[in-house]
């Protein structure tokens, strides 16, 4: 499943060919590995208007061992070192006129951005002001960041985080995620934070140490990658899949030092059975990852009831029923639990031949948003992750043309890997990510579809 085109485009000869022909040149993305520094070079923090986050951002970066340059140095030193990250505190915007300072800061800084660099803009939510001019300026950032993300090359990304008043304490975990290699395939995204009671900062290398994480559909593909990343981050993984997949499920569970549970999640008693097992064996779960999903593609007019119903049962109804059963059973979910539901780009953009699948995946987004307030009251979170074109055994079976086109239709000009989805889920599962709730995070390299 290697990306032969990316490898070719990055070879000596391939570079010449792709340059001369104007072909896309997908970069080799910087992905997270344990022990890796947050950034591979200095960062610069600037602001548009009188922002309130600059000091906090600077401190956060310095704590992570990052050299922070001031915008002045960044401006002045054209021969300066390449930048690993450019952060813009735009919480001081009062109207569109202030956006000029955003441009003034970003233009020279982005020019110095190195491969797999990061642009992160932080702003207030437009809805949280009654001033039309201020709302306009804040909303304008959305267009700016999305466009910038499309302009960046060499694996660099740009994302926007909205920080309402009072949610500043939730900033650290999202900022670290977007700057790190964990977000390699997350590009052009908008995330809105909320205020949350967060635990004292845990182990950065093993943020999930001592946690129990349930992963459905863990026998292969993205589910197995999720199990591996959660285990790498310290969690004990309870790996679930249908009994028929038990052999590979056991291999995954043994590989990650977890527990295999063969369970048909669509069985009427699946929720209570899982709840009972989690209480008896693990004292409850800290993380639930609803990853199990199936496709039964047909054009709507040709789709029989069985295809429709089985996709709905596995992809949507089981997530609802199991989450409800765990919420209803005392002790099944630990306080501050994290639920992450795997949605899909198809649920956002739609996809020909996937009315059932896209409906189920869009339904997940509705479910997550509706449940978020109740989860917040428990100190818990529920979020959705929507993968774009992810290179798996399934995509390997696609015709070459379809696969190549599908994998290039995004700002990073390549398909993502299962580990990219897993890293995003592992980040949302962290105790420190309590300020991210009811959000949909796309792992799509800023796909052109449904953007």
């Amino acid at each position: 499943m290697s990306d032969w085109y990316r490898d070719f485009a990055n070879s000596g000869f391939g570079t010449t060919v792709t340059k001369n022909l104007g072909l896309p040149r997908p970069a080799v993305l910087r992905r997270y590995e344990p022990g890796q520094p947050l950034l591979t070079g200095p960062a610069v923090v600037g602001s548009a208007g009188e922002g309130r986050l600059r000091a906090e951002l600077t401190e956060l970066l310095r704590d992570a061992g990052v050299t922070v340059q001031s915008p002045a140095t960044a401006d002045g030193s054209t021969d300066g070192e390449e930048l690993a990250a450019v952060l813009l505190d735009a919480t001081g915007l009062t109207g569109p006129a202030d956006l000029a300072s955003a441009h003034d800061f970003l233009a020279p800084a982005v020019k110095r951005l190195r491969a797999s660099g990061r642009v992160l803009v932080l702003a207030d939510p437009p809805a949280e002001t009654s001033s039309p001019a201020q709302a306009a300026a804040r909303q304008a950032l959305d267009g700016l960041v999305r466009s910038l993300a499309k302009e960046l090359r060499n694996g660099a990304t740009a994302n926007l985080v909205q920080v309402p008043y009072g949610a500043e304490g939730s900033l650290a975990s999202p900022v670290r995620f977007f700057l790190s290699g964990r977000s390699a395939y997350v590009d052009g995204q908008l995330l809105t934070l909320a205020d949350a009671d967060l635990p004292a900062d845990p182990d950065a290398e093993r943020p999930l140490a001592g946690k129990v994480a349930v992963v459905t559909g863990a026998a292969r593909g993205i589910g197995a990658a999720i199990a591996r990343v959660l285990a790498r981050d310290g969690a004990h993984v309870v790996a679930i899949d249908v009994p028929a997949s038990g052999e590979s499920l056991a291999e995954v569970a043994n590989e990650v030092g977890g527990t295999a549970v063969q369970l048909d999640i669509t069985a009427p008693d699946a929720g209570p059975r899982l709840a009972a097992q989690l209480i008896a064996r693990h004292g409850g779960a800290d993380v639930i990852v609803h990853n199990a999903g199936i496709t039964r593609d047909k054009l709507l007019v040709n789709m029989d009831a069985a295809r429709w119903n089985s996709v709905m049962a596995v992809n949507l109804q089981a997530q609802l029923d199991i989450t409800a059963a765990l919420l209803a059973t005392d002790g099944a979910l630990k306080p501050n639990a994290r639920v992450v539901c795997v949605s899909s780009q198809s649920g956002i953009a739609g996809n020909r031949g996937q009315t059932n699948y896209a409906a189920s995946k869009a339904g997940i987004i509705g479910m997550v948003r509706a449940w978020a307030p109740e989860f917040a009251e428990r100190g818990a979170t529920i979020n959705a992750v929507a993968p774009g074109f992810i290179v798996t055994e399934m995509t390997a079976k696609m015709p070459l043309g379809t696969r190549e086109v599908g994998s290039r239709l995004n700002s990073l000009q390549q398909g993502g890997l299962p580990v990219d989805v897993a890293e995003t889920i592992a980040w949302l599962s962290q105790p420190g990510s309590g300020g991210v709730n009811g959000q949909v995070v796309r792992v799509c390299g800023q796909s052109l579809l449904g953007a």
Binding site: H236, A239, P243, A244, S245, G246, E247, L249, A250, E251, A253, N254, G257, G258, T259, A260, V261, Q262, L263, D264, A267, D269, A280, R281, H282, G283
Partner: protein, 427 residues
């Protein structure tokens, strides 16, 4: 030395689906199957890298290269390599005997945890060098001069290329186990219809157990097989009635390929522990192994049926525990052949047998059929000899656990050589 004994807990089990010989597992060895079974158990209970007290398992059909089969399987598994292991073999009683051995060491406080198992492959049965050829080769090996070597080689004959193939027959009688069972069936006047009925119930009960998810935490698929492939959920009395007898002779022959177990490949394992060991790991205790007993009969000269030893073992164990045959909520009587189960039950109901053979004042009486092999048994699942005991122990332990605390179950397994192994489990 432990001052007093304790009852060993059955934490859970794992097996691979059983496969008819020369089919799904034709390329798997005993060691492959046992290792996969241990790994499935490790995955189920999160035992990666764990050192359990002892792993005890065996195989009935065993290659000479598998002299240390269980230890080799442990080394290939995800258990700690510091886990000791040894092999046992008591024919079809191997699996249950292994569980008893582990339970007894736990009871004595010699170990805190252990895994009992068994594996058998009729597909990869040990094929040995022809005995004549072996003698030639021994002489050749001992020869010191060229002349002696040539002389030894001159003993070679084409016929010696025919290998020794293990036979499913009793060495002392030359009769296949099914032929022995047919003699017993005739003696006890076990009819064809009641055998087929028992067979049908076994298939229906096993299929229902799979459908209800009962085996979700007892079985791990292997080599593409997710259920026992001997299972015929759609079989019927009509279909079973059409099968021609394969054991016994003439008009009275009743034993068919349907109501006899086929040659089967498979493996099973059971995790046993002290209550404390299980509690420390938040692992369940499904049941305790209360007591066990073995017996043997003289089927060569003594006039008793080859597979009737459990009928002798059970009353001894009942007496020791102050129980009657009716004091059980579930019975697991291994279905080597439908006629074996029926003959055993008939013997317990028979005043003459119970008085003369068992020395009892009154017959043991009948058992409630609705409590017998409630999740199916060997007629449906198949019977990989050494793996059957582990299948039954784990199945019964879970059955008792689901029924609630204080439930009692009886296991009865007949074995080649005129032996029987029986045990009591209690939730």
């Amino acid at each position: 030395m432990a001052a007093q004994t304790r009852q060993a807990a059955i934490v859970g089990g794992n097996r691979i689906p059983f496969a008819r010989a020369n089919g799904a597992y034709a390329r798997a060895s005993n060691q492959d199957m046992l290792t996969a079974t241990l790994d499935g158990l490790v995955a189920r209970f999160g035992l990666q890298g764990e050192q359990v007290g002892e792993v005890v398992a065996g195989a009935v059909l065993k290659h000479s290269r598998d002299f240390n089969l269980t230890r080799e399987a442990v080394l290939g598994s995800r258990l700690s390599a510091a886990t000791p292991a040894y092999d046992v073999q008591q024919a079809c009683g191997t699996g249950l005997e292994a569980a008893i051995l582990v339970a007894n060491k736990i009871a004595l406080g010699q170990i805190e945890s252990g895994i009992a198992g068994g594996t058998d492959t009729a597909s990869d049965a040990p094929i040995a060098v022809n005995e004549d050829l072996r003698q030639v080769l021994v002489r050749l090996n001992n020869a010191r001069t060229l002349q002696q070597r040539l002389k030894a080689l001159s003993g070679l004959r084409p016929g010696q290329l025919v290998p020794e193939i293990p036979r499913n027959a009793e060495p002392r009688t030359g009769l296949a186990m099914g032929d022995h069972a047919a003699i017993t069936a005739a003696e006890w006047e076990i009819g064809r219809e009641e055998q087929d009925e028992l067979t049908l119930r076994s298939h229906q009960a096993l299929a229902a157990a799979y459908d209800s998810g009962f085996f979700d935490d007892l079985v791990t698929p292997y080599l593409g097989l997710a259920r026992d492939n001997n299972l015929r959920p759609d079989t019927s009395l009509e279909k079973l009635a059409k099968l021609a007898p394969v054991f016994g002779r003439g008009e009275g022959a009743t034993m068919t390929a349907g109501n006899s177990t086929p040659l089967t490949d498979g493996a099973s394992a059971v995790l046993l522990a002290s209550d404390e060991w299980a509690a420390a790991r938040d692992l369940p205790v499904l049941a305790h192994l209360v007591d066990a007993q073995t017996a043997a009969v003289d089927y060569v000269h003594g006039g008793e049926g080859l597979l009737m030893a459990p009928a002798y073992a059970v009353p001894v164990m009942l007496a020791r525990n102050g129980l009657t045959l009716q004091d059980f909520d579930f019975y697991e009587v291994h279905e080597a052949f439908a006629s074996t189960v029926l003959a055993t039950m008939k013997a317990w109901e028979d005043p003459a047998f119970c008085k003369e053979k068992l020395g009892l004042d009154a017959p043991l009486g009948s058992i409630d059929r609705s409590k017998l092999n409630v999740h199916g048994s060997s007629l449906a699942a198949g019977h990989p000899f050494a793996a059957t005991g582990g299948r039954i122990v784990a199945t019964l332990a879970k059955t008792l656990h689901e029924a609630g605390p204080g439930k009692r179950g009886l296991i009865s397994i007949c074995a080649a050589g005129g032996q029987g192994v029986v045990a009591i489990l209690e939730s």
